[in-house]
Amino acid sequence: MIALATIQAASPPTNVFEWFTKESFRARSGAIPHQVWLTVWHSAAALVLAVLVAVPLAVVLAHYRRGELVAGWVVNTGRAIPTVAILGIAVIVSLREGFGFEPWPIILSLVLLALPPLFANTFTAVRGADASAVDAARAVGLSEWAVMVRIELPLALPVLFVGLRTAAVQVVATEPIAALFGAEGLGAYIRQGLGNNDLYQIQAGALMVTAVAIVADLSLWLTGRTLIPAPIRRQAGRSSRRNRRSKGLAEAIA
Amino acid sequence: MGQQRDEQSSDGAVAIQLRAVTKTFPGASTAAVSPLDLDVPRGEIVVLIGPSGCGKTTTLRMINRLIEPTGGTITVEGVDVRQQSPTELRRGIGYVIQQIGLFPHRTIAQNIATVPKLLGWDKAKVSARVDELVDLVGLDRDMLGRYPGELSGGQQQRVGVGRALAADPPVLLMDEPFGAVDPIVRGRLQGELLALQQRVRKTIVLVTHDIDEAIRVGDRVALLNVGGVLEQFGPPDALLARPANAFVEQFLGSERSLKRLALSQVRSLPHERGPVVDASATVDEARKVADEVGGGWVGVVDAERFLGWVHGERLEDSRPLADQLLETPAVQLAPDATLREALEAILTSRSAVAVIADEGRFGGVVSLEQIRRGLIA
């Protein structure tokens, strides 16, 4: 199942940090920047697509108070769909249809992974949007569409970003699985390490993935801070403090 | 003009005593409660009232040590509260709060049984006590198996009071107990509290921000200013009649005299028979009474029953008084009606005098002049 690189190195590293310093070990799985780039690009594409699907759907469903039950169930059991299964099926279909190995099967399976937290958080946030603000917007004559885009969505942004960060971390941490199906990316180090019983290479791969995940999380946090006006951020903090139980539920489904 | 419940009040003994009690919260620059002395007589309702920040709730919560005083001593029934463990102390003091704080996951019966169970009562005793309390606070027994979420706000607060009384504590602390219900229910619950107090005779300390509530339920009112300064302490009527200073006067608001009227009962006025004649009297005698004391009107009483009013000019010489064209008054006041109700009756009565009827028997009249004199007294 796992492609193996074979040459035994002359002086194997004695810890994970040494692994990074020895050019020869790095060379086996391709240059590090290239693999980082692949992981980042797969993850980013999947996140963008997932946002494009989940956010409008969640805003509309939450605005019209529709399909709450069904959506809740789909979101929760959606977490149980093994990404490996989607990947396997997608790779086989993609190969059969001639779309090739990368990147669509990988991105598709990561999109499915990112949907639940994004959808759940956006839905909860819109549902919890300040009812008086929505009322006032209608009262001054905003259309339903304008209420969604100009009132509910902005008010939902803080919680939406929490979901986005959760999704980003999950996507980045899961992307290496693609390597099990022969794809390149940071998972390639882990795959090779598994194949060679090379603990340090596995650790190195894990470290790099974790680093990318943390960087993604932090940069999204920063983006949120710059993008969302402070009053809305504080408002969200206040209301969640006031109603801690609903915050708990929001976290439960995040 | 006497205090409404004077004759039933305390035996004079002090149940709760605060001496130089202070509280400064950590990090606060000013004291929440500055040295405060207060005596709560046994069996009375003492109301703590004042603007926000006056430390009324803090003071209340220091009595059962939900807040520890910074200085001073508090004794309950002669025992310093700090000599007991907080949990022991609290089990002996009933506690009712505005948000009620019923346990949503326990049935009404389980809620009421909380303290008896903490005290280790046996099952039979607990369930007997629960039944007793449900009756006492006026709930149906078939509510016992329900959960608080299924009850209305007023019913929940009744359960809250029942729960506080469960172990029959001598002292009850109530923190804005009726603050969360609508005005109609609030009025009813206040009445129920007074009726309940007639039966159980607890020492009650009640916090409120509603001056009308304070006047209605309090045997004594302690008016606190910001920082826990006691501005005046006394029976509500004393506050209304003789405000100690401008702050008290301002806090009590306008219409102080009208508020006082609600505090006194008709029976507290000196008895006055008024411009009334017996049915056996002659028409001339009646006409004389109408002219001299009745301002034109005379009342006819037959066998202790008040028959009605008749104007002197309408009296027909040929008929006995009982057969004259009598105007019956719209209301006859019971002796325990308030002076406010009496005033209302006077204003709507053609004769400008209200009639007192004690279970149908004529008990005299109330005139505007009598009320005015009562207020000045």
Binding site: A80, A179, L194 | Q98, T114
Partner: protein, 261 residues
């Protein structure tokens, strides 16, 4: 996620429809494979039902995989619950530890599961490694929900409990824990369902439950196995989700009756 519970009728209708759908599907599938021999190839290129219904060793293979998948789900969630309770207790007792604790749990979340399985197999047996790794992924959700659940107990209820002279421990056990239950159970549900999805990845270390089917199917280019693995995984999640929901309903009768008001 729903704040308002669906009516009883909706609930039963949904359950009934689900059961009916499964029954109809099984009847249809058995019809569809009638007459096919076990080695029929290419009659149905997407899913070859004869592998599921005609192959004699399939049922007990699937049974073994189900048991393995269940074990790999139940053990980590149970262990995670014990561990999270302890961590949440610390976080509640010493508030300042909450942020670092969740930060560490969040960090564990960023570690790629594949790598964690791989690294741990160096020190532990594959099964132990899988349980330890999967446990670590449940911590974030569970700790957050236990703390949020206990935090969510209304101030007034706590105040009343204190005012009546309940000790701290008694208040925790008889008031706070029961009231936190709905949020805690929601956390357990999410943790369970997420773990079911993650178990498949342990296929990379020769375990996997239904994940074994997925990897095996991929390596042999046998699409049916992947599909069966994925579908069974989701079915297991739905079943456990339902089970936990019913346990929650039984344990929180007060929440159910509130709707009736």
């Amino acid at each position: 996620m729903s704040e308002q519970s669906p009516s009883r009728a909706t609930r039963w209708a949904a359950c009934g429809a689900g059961v009916l759908a499964v029954v109809i599907f099984v009847i249809w599938a058995r019809q569809a494979v009638r007459g096919l021999s076990p080695d029929t190839a290419a009659t149905n290129p997407i899913i070859r039902w004869e592998w599921v219904f005609k192959r004699s060793s399939t049922p007990h293979e699937l049974r073994d995989l189900t048991i393995e998948h269940l074990k790999l789900t139940a053990l980590p969630v149970a262990a995670g619950l014990v561990l999270s309770s302890a961590l949440a207790a610390i976080a509640l007792r010493f508030r300042w530890t909450f942020a670092p604790l969740t930060a560490v749990a969040g960090f564990l979340y960023t570690v790629p599961s594949l790598a964690l399985f791989a690294v741990l197999t160096v020190y532990l047996s594959p099964f132990q490694a899988a349980v330890v790794a999967l446990t670590s992924y449940t911590l974030l959700i569970l700790v957050r929900n236990i703390v949020a659940g206990i935090d969510g107990v209304p101030e007034s209820v706590l105040s009343a409990a204190d005012g009546m002279g309940m000790s701290r421990q008694r208040r925790l056990v008889t008031v706070e824990l029961p009231l936190a239950l709905p949020v805690v159970m929601a956390g357990i549900r999410v943790a369970t369902v997420t773990t079911i999805g993650l178990v498949a990845i342990t296929g990379a270390i020769q375990l996997g439950g239904f994940g074994f089917l997925i990897f095996d199917g991929y390596n042999t280019q046998f699409f049916t196995k992947i599909a069966v693995g994925a579908i069974l995984s989701v079915l297991l999640a739905v079943a456990l989700d339902l089970l936990i929901r019913s346990v929650e309903r039984v344990l929180t009768p007060w929440a159910r009756r509130r709707v009736a008001r």
